[in-house]
């Protein structure tokens, strides 16, 4: 994480000097306990708001740094030799992987190939055992999930993980958490800035829900009462609400019929073109994979076995082997 800027450091120094001078002055003219109180008050009244300001700017700086790096043409995400080992099990084994800007990439592979583990590594839920993750060239390997989200990587889950007892709208509002500034005291006092922010967040949540195709009358419904398709939509809206530059979708068409899948394929293209974001999918449905992705990466037993254009990958001998088994063994069975 980047350190303080020079301007911030000098302002911080000035502040410290002010507090020290203030407290020395207080010690000279006041009894000791009153001076201690004055010092404490100085720290609380001046230091805390400043610290909060610093925290706020750090949050927005992440977005800024990412936006600057984006201009250099770095890939959105670059995974270098990433592995994840659980005890004796190697779930992901030395994968190199890249997502170019504004592209749609799929990861496929048989069950247990390590796709979801790979996803969890990208979003900070698992820490890679070896390897580095670079987001627009910034090393995010050791960051927490919420920090990664604030950089601009958002995700959905394979088995829908909405906040079941919150309404659709509230779910999407939580998605904007990293983009909000309201503090504890600000929320209690409901200062004008907090009120405006709350209003803006609610409006944006509504827009997002409309964008993913939810009907306005279902906005207030609790997530648990929504239909399966709508729950999937809300999850995508919730992820989009954090203004991501990279959207990770974990089996988004699971449980959809062919028409719905086709509509979803269109939607993914629309997302990429209108929102200018890159999309990484885990997908089982070959039709969707072929229709939507520009590049496909195939994982098997945690290793990358093929990568490239969807049509070529489909013909790759190792991919066929991974999905269907070896020729000899087939013969033996026959």
């Amino acid at each position: 994480m980047s350190a303080l800027t020079v301007a911030e450091r000098s302002r911080f120094g000035l502040l410290a000097v002010a507090i020290i001078v203030g407290s020395i002055f207080a010690v000279m003219v006041l009894p000791i306990w009153l001076a201690a109180m004055v010092t404490l008050a100085l720290i609380v009244l001046v230091g805390v708001p400043y610290w909060q300001q610093l925290h706020r700017s750090r949050n927005s700086r992440r977005v800024f740094v990412a936006a600057e790096a984006a201009d250099t043409g770095e890939p959105v995400l670059k995974v270098e030799n990433a592995s994840k080992v659980f005890g004796g099990l190697v779930a992901v084994d030395g994968v190199d992987f890249e997502i170019p800007q504004a592209s749609i990439v799929s990861i496929i592979g048989p069950n247990g190939a390590g796709k979801t583990t790979f996803f969890n590594m990208l979003t900070g839920l698992y820490r890679p055992t070896t390897g580095r993750l670079r987001y627009y060239g910034i090393d995010i390997t050791d960051e927490r999930p919420d920090v990664i989200t604030s950089y601009g990587i958002a995700r959905t889950f394979q088995n829908i993980r909405l906040f079941a007892t919150m309404s659709a709208l509230e779910n999407v509002m939580v998605g904007q958490h990293a983009r909000m500034n309201a503090s504890l005291f600000g929320s209690i006092l409901r200062t004008p800035s907090v009120r405006h922010e709350e209003q803006a967040v609610m409006e944006k949540a509504g827009e997002m829900l409309e964008y993913v195709g939810l009907k306005r009358e279902t906005f207030g419904q609790l997530a648990i009462n929504l239909s399966y398709g709508d729950q999937r939509r809300v999850e995508v809206a919730r992820a989009l609400a954090s203004d991501p530059k990279l959207l990770l979708l974990d089996e988004p068409t699971a449980g959809m019929n062919p028409q719905e899948s086709a509509r979803f394929t269109e939607f993914v293209h629309k997302l990429r073109d209108e929102m200018k974001i890159s999309i990484l999918l885990i997908e089982h449905d070959m039709k969707v994979v072929m229709g939507v992705s520009e590049r496909v990466t195939v994982l098997d037993h945690g290793q990358k076995i093929a990568e490239g254009d969807p049509r070529e990958v489909r013909k790759d001998a190792r991919v066929i082997e991974a999905y269907l088994g070896k020729r000899e063994s087939q013969e033996q069975h026959a």
Binding site: W33, L34, M37, T123, G124, L125, R144, P145, D146, V147, T149, S150, A154, R155, F157, R161, L162, F163, A164, T165, M166, E170, M173, V174, G175, Q176, H177, A178, R179, M180, A182, L184, S187, I188, L189, R190, V194, E197, E198, V201, L222, I224, R238, A239, S242
Partner: protein, 423 residues
């Protein structure tokens, strides 16, 4: 006819019981009628456009209430303690109800708040400043005494800061834990603070001062001294009542504001699904510590008030059972439901503090049994909880979300499926 009985039977029984109790606690007859009318109105008109006016009416009633009662003891005395307990219940509601972090050591924050009052508002540290004492914005009355004497407001601020820090401290070791394990760590923390309070009379601070006064208690403690009003007296309890009421209103206000804020949503998200919340940009550590600190701060405020009101800071007050008592208020009222917890706090505090010792105490003897109802007060208390869990597990006034969780079997994160499979 049977429909009418089913509908109004419970209400009629409720009114009868209320009238009996009001008579016993010497409630003014006029006020008794008012509270019954208000209660029925609140019951019938909840969630309508009139509910706001009911709220205003109840508030006005609560403000003028002490004027109808003897200012020295009895009813107002009980009411003050009930209100102080409601403040704690609402504080715990933030931790347990909103953020879903089961806290069994809430008594620790009561202790911290009370000791803040004991340390900074009594003659306990008699040797301080060569026996001259330290005095911060206090009346002439105590400004001659030894020890540290700070104004009540100063003590409250100190209590808020100290308990919030203690809350964050207890939060730290629980951050990697979930569910029941959090409960065990907080339980241990509460016990540690209780033990330290008891044995603190052997912990020297130098100059002959000790950390606490142990079971003897720090007494007397300064009376509340607010700006622009006279120092509170132990014979006139009305100002105490209004102070406690103001504290309840403040904590209610904070509860409502936080529930509908960025932080409140993050707490609920955290309670529902930690992994999803973290992936949506909610920082787990900060958000959890915020819940602990905010909840603890109200325990501290209430503790400081009670120390001054009861005129003692006695280590025996800080028992594990008190944590359970406050938690039971939250559960009885309805986890996460602000009005529910308020009512739950009032009801339980009333049962434990007034109903059992003052009203129902002699019932067993009246029917020829050789014991006193106060001897089995915790049994009654447990019995109430069991009945409540069977009849209405979501609490007196349930929160919408919790009701769904209980009836649809969701929430609680990943463990839920396992539990269902076992049953």
């Amino acid at each position: 006819m049977s429909e009418a009985i089913r509908r109004f039977g419970p209400a009629a029984i409720g009114v009868a019981v209320a009238l009996y109790i009001f008579d016993k606690i010497e409630m003014d007859p006029f006020m008794s009628v008012v509270i019954i009318v208000l209660g029925l109105a609140a019951w019938l008109l909840a969630d309508t456009k009139y509910s706001k006016w009911i709220g205003v009416a109840i508030l006005v009633w609560a403000i003028v209430l002490p004027l109808f009662h003897d200012s020295g003891q009895g009813f107002i005395d009980d009411a003050n303690i009930m209100l102080a307990y409601v403040v704690m219940a609402l504080g715990l509601n933030i931790v347990v109800g909103f953020a879903g972090l089961l806290d069994l050591g809430y008594v620790a924050f009561f202790a911290f708040g009370a000791f803040c009052m004991g340390w900074f508002g009594s003659s306990f540290f008699a040797g301080v400043n060569d026996g001259e004492g330290i005095h911060i914005f206090v009346s002439d009355l105590v400004s001659q005494q030894a020890g540290i004497h700070a104004n009540f407001l100063v003590v409250v601020i100190a209590a808020v800061i100290i308990t919030a820090m203690a809350g964050a401290l207890i939060g730290l070791p629980t951050l990697r834990l979930r569910g029941d394990y959090i409960a065990i760590v907080t339980l241990a923390f509460g016990e540690i603070i209780g033990r330290v309070a008891i044995n603190g009379d052997s912990i020297g601070l130098g100059g002959g001062e000790t950390l606490t006064a142990g079971r003897q208690g720090i007494t007397p403690v300064d009376k509340i001294d607010l700006p622009f009003v006279d120092v509170f007296q132990s014979l006139n309890l009305r100002p105490w009542y209004w102070t406690a009421l103001a504290m309840v209103l403040i904590v209610l206000f904070v509860n409502f504001r936080l529930r509908d804020s960025r932080l409140g949503r993050a707490w609920i998200a955290l309670r529902e699904d930690e992994v999803a919340a973290a992936s949506m940009g909610v920082p787990l550590v900060r958000t959890k510590l915020m819940a602990y600190a905010t909840g603890a701060a109200f325990g501290g405020i209430s503790g400081a008030f009670l120390a001054s009101y009861l005129n003692t800071v006695n280590a025996d007050q800080f028992q594990f059972s008190f944590s359970i008592f406050v938690l039971a208020m939250v559960i009885l009222g309805g986890l996460g439901s602000i009005w529910g917890v308020t009512v739950g706090g009032l009801v339980l505090a009333f049962i434990i503090n007034t109903f059992i010792p003052d009203i129902a105490r002699s019932w067993p003897r009246d029917v020829g049994l050789d014991f006193d109802l106060t001897e089995i007060s915790f049994a009654i208390f447990g019995f109430l909880l069991v009945i409540m869990m069977i009849l209405r597990p979501e609490g007196l006034i349930p929160e919408r979300r919790r009701q769904i969780e209980l009836h649809e079997g969701i929430g609680g994160g990943e463990g839920t499926d396992l539990y269902e499979a076992r049953v």
